[in-house]
Symmetry: C2
Subunit: 348 residues, 2 copies
């Protein structure tokens, strides 16, 4: 039986090109595609066969478990992440098994999936501080990589974005524009990225001697609704002077903040400023919001592609510490940010 690598060597192409040709991707020219398909037939190449799996003792499958309770929200960013992950795995002849588990039953779901013997490795999403899944997988020495990380000297493979750099720069921009009452709509408390972002926000403001009232940091699901509800509460002014600027952990939250500001008769980029983190959802582009949004930006699809490469190497025996990557984040300034109101926004 011919392997992908043997077929690629025979053709003088990379395994990724051969895989892409067989999967019909447009980057590979039609002439090359036909040559690859003909060689695959001539050499009796079959991707991912059960026979090969039996021979190698590997299932050729990678597991992912997503957090979803019935009637609760599923993160819309997840589909972009999944697209990157399944594409990256396909290039390496790996399949993706998808399970879900309620937030309180994550650990048990991981244990059951490993015990089933169906998978060679796991990709862990949304790590928390002191995440019991990571402790369990480390102890069992089961191959895994993590989307995100916690702490400085990390023993596992991970892909993360530079949350600290991103939220420091965003906060500094708002300070430079004269904002002093800056509110932060963060993701759920305890998630690694939320902890990193909040630390960056607080450190940056503290370095400029700006006090952050406790009420100006909120934690919630990153939905449009949550953004609206929180911003409407702040803008009502019932609990103290409202913020003049909003830092949001997602573009969906920013849409909610824009709705609340609109209802309060405020002009975005003039009366109030908004910055959000943009995972790049292709169907809803922040540059096209009714006021184009200032964002910190990295496509979340890149995370999926990078983690697919990492879990493949990890299953093949690479050391976890050799599989660690932190991606830079762009700050893109558009119309939703402007100088703080001269009167400090007190006159609304």
């Amino acid at each position: 039986m011919t392997t992908l690598r043997e077929l690629a060597n025979h053709l003088g192409l990379s395994p990724a090109t051969v895989s892409r040709a067989l999967n019909g991707y447009p980057e590979v020219g039609e002439k090359t595609r036909i040559r690859v398909v003909e060689a695959a037939e001539a050499l009796n190449y079959r991707p991912n066969t059960s026979a090969r799996r039996l021979a190698t003792g590997k299932s050729g499958m990678v597991g992912i478990i997503f957090r979803a309770a019935r009637n609760l929200l599923v993160d819309p960013h997840f589909v972009e992440y999944l697209a990157g992950l399944s594409m990256g795995l396909a290039d390496r002849e790996l399949d993706l098994i998808l399970r879900h588990a309620a937030p309180g039953a994550q650990l048990a779901a991981y244990q059951r999936l490993i015990a089933s013997g169906s998978i060679d490795g796991l990709v862990v999403s949304a790590p928390e501080v002191d995440d019991p899944r990571i402790a369990m997988l480390t102890e069992r020495n089961f191959p895994f990589v993590v989307h995100g990380h916690v702490g400085e000297d990390v023993a596992y493979g991970f892909y993360d974005i530079d949350n600290h750099g991103a939220f420091s720069r965003a906060t500094e921009l708002l300070i430079a524009l004269g904002h002093r009452r800056i509110a932060f709509l963060n993701g759920s408390a305890g998630l690694a990225f939320a902890v990193q972002r909040e630390a960056a926000f607080r450190t940056t403001l503290a370095a400029r001697g700006i006090h952050v009232p406790a009420r100006f940091v909120s934690h919630s699901e990153m939905s449009e609704d949550a953004g609206y509800n929180q911003a409407a509460k702040w803008l009502s002014g019932l609990h103290g002077l409202p913020p003049t600027a909003f830092l949001c952990s997602s573009t969906l939250m920013a849409i909610g903040v824009m709705r609340a500001a609109g209802e309060a008769g405020l002009e975005i980029g003039k009366d109030v400023s908004i910055i959000a983190h943009d995972d790049v959802l292709p169907h809803l582009r922040s540059e096209h919001f009714s006021t184009p949004l200032t964002v910190t930006r990295v496509p979340i699809r890149e995370a999926g592609l990078a983690l697919a490469e990492m879990i493949h190497k990890r299953i093949d025996g690479a050391a976890p510490k050799s599989l660690q990557k932190t991606a830079n984040v762009d700050l893109i300034v558009r119309n939703s940010t402007g100088a703080a109101p001269q009167d400090g926004g007190r006159s609304w």
Copy 2:
């Protein structure tokens, strides 16, 4: 080895309740959950073990292949659909294998997945008229069910929504409000649901003697961008009188239409009316758009749940024709629809 059914019988509970208890869902009370977990341990119950799979000759896995080209869009509705599907499969101890394939390589991807021997059944998404995947699967007699259907006397199992009823009622509402120049932003040409919706739109207008200019029906990806671009073109008036009403195949398209109308200085629900089909994306709710949107609505998560039940029955030998369901669609009238402008909208 104890099966889920044996465990459920022992406890006097339904298999679904036992599965939900083991998966930690909140519908099951803590007392029941503890009783189930203890019984599962006492009876040595292990879900989905490789041993059981070897014994039954089944893999316990269902495949789904999504359409995604590198650098092209992945449908954000897909994650909601996937949530329903993976939850419904988990209740039946089935796992989900997820693959993607470029639009031009769908058939080959299905054939490879079947040939790999990894799966017991398939769930087919986004059927087209004369879909070669359905023809191939029917001929091979491989278990499958379809999200959507084409034609009257259908031989395969499917879950669909009443696209014809939904788009007839939406069109009739616009006619009743006095609109005569109604434009339709449809999904990609050739997809089953797009064909059904367009037939409903045209038949309803023809029955009232209203002519539809060819330029008033467009086909595209259902993104915010596509909605904006198409509406901006129509509203420019460069190619003839603009529409006074827009019927959209998705709420994301409607956001784009709202953006184009806003830029043209038009008030939604007064100068122009908008209706969209709403698959219910929990993070972006049409009742909360800057103008609450009139919609035809069915949660797409229901499709996933229904298809999970169907493919399970199909794998167990149920006749395809016994597995066919068409869901009713609600028409929910909000502020984005209003009487057509008295001057017929000619004065803009």
